[in-house]
Symmetry: C3
């Protein structure tokens, strides 16, 4: 019977699908956009420092800014990957929240970068705790999916509540 109404059904399914997909990713898209704005801000800072000090190339300030920018860019794909995996596998709200905290930490890192040599004093890898939290969310999401597939038990709602509560712990300094 359902196959006889195939065309309208298909339309109906697709409409619902896109609304559902957007419902589950729009916070992630927002955080991604914020991170892109931050990237552009970093790049413009480096460019300004570079063109401003045209007389004596590779000054200390430029070195440091460029280094901070490179460290931020090196970890950026890693951050995006875990952010989206965590958001899709488990729940988008805690993932987006952790993502925003990561962006704040990155801003602090970039502004406060004062190391003499590359990757030295303020830590080469920042936001380890947040990356760990997001990775953990992915793992929990996958385990829950496997349990649902093979065991038939679904703890997703409990896990999502726990995750939301746990994500506030990231606010601790």
């Amino acid at each position: 019977m359902i196959r006889q109404q195939s065309e309208t059904d298909r339309q109906f399914i697709l409409e619902n699908m896109f609304v559902a997909v957007m419902d589950n990713i729009f916070l992630l898209v927002l955080v991604t956009l914020l991170s892109v704005v931050q990237n552009v801000f970093f790049a413009l800072k480096v460019e300004k420092e570079c063109t401003g000090q045209h007389s004596k190339h590779h000054s200390a300030a430029f070195e440091r800014l460029s280094c901070a920018n490179r460290n931020c860019m090196d970890t950026y794909p890693t951050f995006l990957a875990v952010l989206w995996c965590a958001g899709i596998c488990l729940s988008q709200a805690p993932a987006a929240f952790a993502g925003i905290i990561y962006l704040v930490v990155r801003q602090k890192y970039f502004v406060g970068y004062l190391g003499q040599t590359c990757q030295s004093t303020p830590g080469f890898l920042f936001g380890k705790r947040i990356l760990f939290f997001l990775s953990l969310m992915c793992v929990v999401g996958i385990i829950n999916h496997l349990m649902l597939s093979y065991g038939g038990s679904d703890y997703k709602e409990y896990i999502q509540t726990i995750t939301k509560a746990a994500s506030t712990l990231l606010l601790l300094p």
Copy 2:
């Protein structure tokens, strides 16, 4: 009633789902593949320059090529992120079109890189206008989704038409 036919329905939904998903991303996948080919092209250029000038390391030409490559690679995750977000949130055709223009701009940037110092003359950040256009598409897509969820009004078709028209403006030099 629908739940009684659960198994065949589920199959039917899934089949339609995958066709629908592919319908909405295959242009993005194509652009991503093109960008990957370009990345490999850049990397091979740098490698050739590097091994070709084995006698005097870190020659000026190698420095410059390596620098152009690094600038391209630094913005690559940012580009991919906004490309896919714009394509998923709003409409894939204009996003893929903007992506292809970005690749052309990047090719020009890489070939014409003649700056003496790293990140200096030809601009550290290229394709700002395209990144801005793609980000705008994301924002519009999210706003439309929120209006659809809370207000019930759906302007997606109008917006998609406008976006398609606007994307041709990127062709202006």
Copy 3:
């Protein structure tokens, strides 16, 4: 008829959709997580080398480790992009398998990096064969989708079987 049951149907479709999405990406998420763990391992190695040799900055060992890390990070977004595109367009199992082999190759590359100058001896671009295989999977997936849309013939099952068999060829040294 189906529209009268709209609310429960929608719930039913969504539930199935999420299970289906997770079914089709959980291996990719696992490989992504593994690659993130490896990235963090690389970054910690570089950081340890950097802080350990605080007296004489930019020692040869640090240069080399930092260079290997940068080469790995430069190709990381490219790898993630083709991995996910191949997994979504065609089939996740061979894509995830190729991804794991890529991670093994990368580990070997990082550990065995002994080049004197940046990007020299052990090859600037590693895992070319795997990237090529994943790109090919994307292309085949898109061609199959277009044939399905316009021609009506679906060879996806045959292609998936062939791909699975072909992916074992990556094990050849």
